[in-house]
Every structure is written in structure tokens, then in C-alpha cells.
């Protein structure tokens, strides 16, 4: 049966297939609401910390952690950026959630360090101030980081 198609036609068909696969790979990502919610939660934790009440800080941290854990396990895979499709697991870099989680942990460490620096400098709302830069990095850098990782996994594929 394959004798009926030429090499050029086979190449063209394979290119169509590769192009369509790239269109799906371009959909890898995290929903925009996740980045905005994470950044808002980050600043809210900073504000709660500045209130100085141990119960408020503990409660806010627990709520933030629980909500993030529930949401992250659904969206950090990068397979459900839009409601139009779910990308196959083997198309997405399986390290994506690990890399993103590591970045979030790193931002947490940076936030604490910035908080100590601001506090040592005598800032009145050290935690809030320290949380703003990571929150901006989340909103501005998160989508770009995921896009970079998706492109890298596509090249490997």
C-alpha cells in the first residue's frame, strides 16, 4: 500500500503531523489565574506576617499551603492550561512540576532572606515588602519559565 505514495508525499505528511504536534505542545502551560493567585497569596502571607499575631500567621500559612497543594497537583503538570484540551502526559516534560516546585521553594527562601534584610534595615513592614518582589517575579517570570521548559521538552521530543 505504501508503494502508492511517493517519498515527497510521505515527508509532507510527516511534516503535517509534526506541525500539529507542535500546536499541541504550544498549549503546555499553567493557567494565568494560578500565577495571579499565587502572587496574591504570597503578598497576603507577607501582610499576615507583619501583623505579628502567631495565630494569624499560622492560620494563613496553613490555608495557603492547603489551597496551593490542592490546586498545584491539578495544574502544575502543565497539561491543563486551557479548558480546550488536556495534553498527554508523555508529551509534557515530566520534570516540569518538580522544577516549578523547586522555584517556588527557592522564592520562599529568598522572601525570608529579604524579610530579614528589610527588618535589619529597620523597615516597618518588612515581610510585606519582602513578599512583593517574589510576587512580581511569579507573575512576570512564571509563564515565561513554563514556556521555556515546554520548548526544551519539544526539542528533546
Amino acid at each position: 500500500m505504501t508503494d502508492e505514495i511517493s517519498e515527497a508525499e510521505a515527508r509532507l505528511a510527516l511534516k503535517v503531523i509534526a506541525d500539529r504536534e507542535q500546536e499541541v505542545i504550544a498549549q503546555i502551560g499553567i493557567p494565568a489565574w494560578y500565577w495571579c493567585g499565587l502572587a496574591a497569596g504570597w503578598v497576603a502571607l507577607g501582610v499576615a506576617s507583619d501583623l505579628g499575631n502567631a495565630w494569624v500567621i499560622s492560620g494563613a500559612t496553613l490555608v495557603f499551603g492547603a489551597v496551593h497543594a490542592a490546586v498545584a497537583q491539578r495544574v502544575l503538570s502543565g497539561r491543563r492550561r486551557s479548558s480546550s484540551l488536556t495534553i498527554r502526559a508523555d508529551v509534557v516534560d515530566r520534570h516540569l512540576p518538580i522544577v516549578l516546585f523547586a522555584c517556588i521553594v527557592a522564592l520562599g527562601v529568598i522572601t525570608v532572606a529579604l524579610g530579614f534584610l528589610a527588618d535589619a534595615d529597620g523597615a516597618r513592614h518588612a515581610s510585606t515588602m519582602a513578599s512583593i518582589a517574589p510576587a512580581v517575579a511569579i507573575v512576570c517570570g512564571g509563564p515565561g519559565l513554563v514556556a521555556f521548559l515546554a520548548r526544551r521538552s519539544a526539542r528533546r521530543g
Partner: protein, 99 residues
């Protein structure tokens, strides 16, 4: 994972090849997404889907989401096997020694 080369005449026409190639990279895809990517009318796409569904290559689900009826399409195991075999057959045409 290498599949047995098996040229598939049902998949090979350009439109159906594009549809199946999109579906092959996803667990499921919304009808509208495929329609917009391929610049097809609803009726033209429905016709292609009916052909593929008739062959057992795709399954069509209609879940109710946000009070809207969605149409989700996914490749069946039979469709995936046919697509993988077709891709292997195309590669065999280009590189007969590689199979």
C-alpha cells in the same frame, strides 16, 4: 516504542491526518479547538469526526460543563494504534532501511 508499519488510507487524507495528529498528542480535545486550528466549518469537521468515529478511531463525549454542552474528542486505542502504524509506514517510505 516502535509500531508495525501499516499505511492507513482512512487517516492519510490531509484533513483527517491533521485531526488525528492533534488528537494523538492529547488525552482529549474540544471540538472548537480542532475546528479553529484547521479552519473548518462545524459541519465539515462533524463529517470527518463521523468517519473516524465510524471506524472506531475516535470517541466523542458530550459532558455538561458550566451549563454548556461541550464536545470532547479523544483517540481510541484502536485509533492510536492505526496512527502509530501509519506514522511508521510514512517513515518506512522515507527510510526503508530504518524499519
Amino acid at each position: 516504542m516502535s509500531s508495525q508499519p501499516q499505511f492507513d488510507e482512512l487517516i492519510h487524507p490531509a484533513t483527517r491526518l491533521s485531526i488525528v495528529a492533534l488528537l494523538a498528542s492529547a488525552d482529549w480535545i474540544d471540538f472548537a479547538f480542532v475546528r479553529d486550528r484547521l479552519n473548518l466549518s462545524d459541519s465539515a469537521l462533524s463529517k470527518q469526526f463521523a468517519t473516524l468515529e465510524g471506524a472506531g478511531y475516535i470517541s466523542i463525549e458530550r459532558p455538561l460543563e458550566d451549563r454548556r454542552r461541550r464536545v470532547r474528542v479523544r483517540l481510541t486505542p484502536v485509533g492510536r494504534k492505526a496512527f502509530d502504524g501509519h506514522v511508521a509506514a510514512l517513515r518506512a517510505v522515507i527510510d526503508p532501511a530504518g524499519t
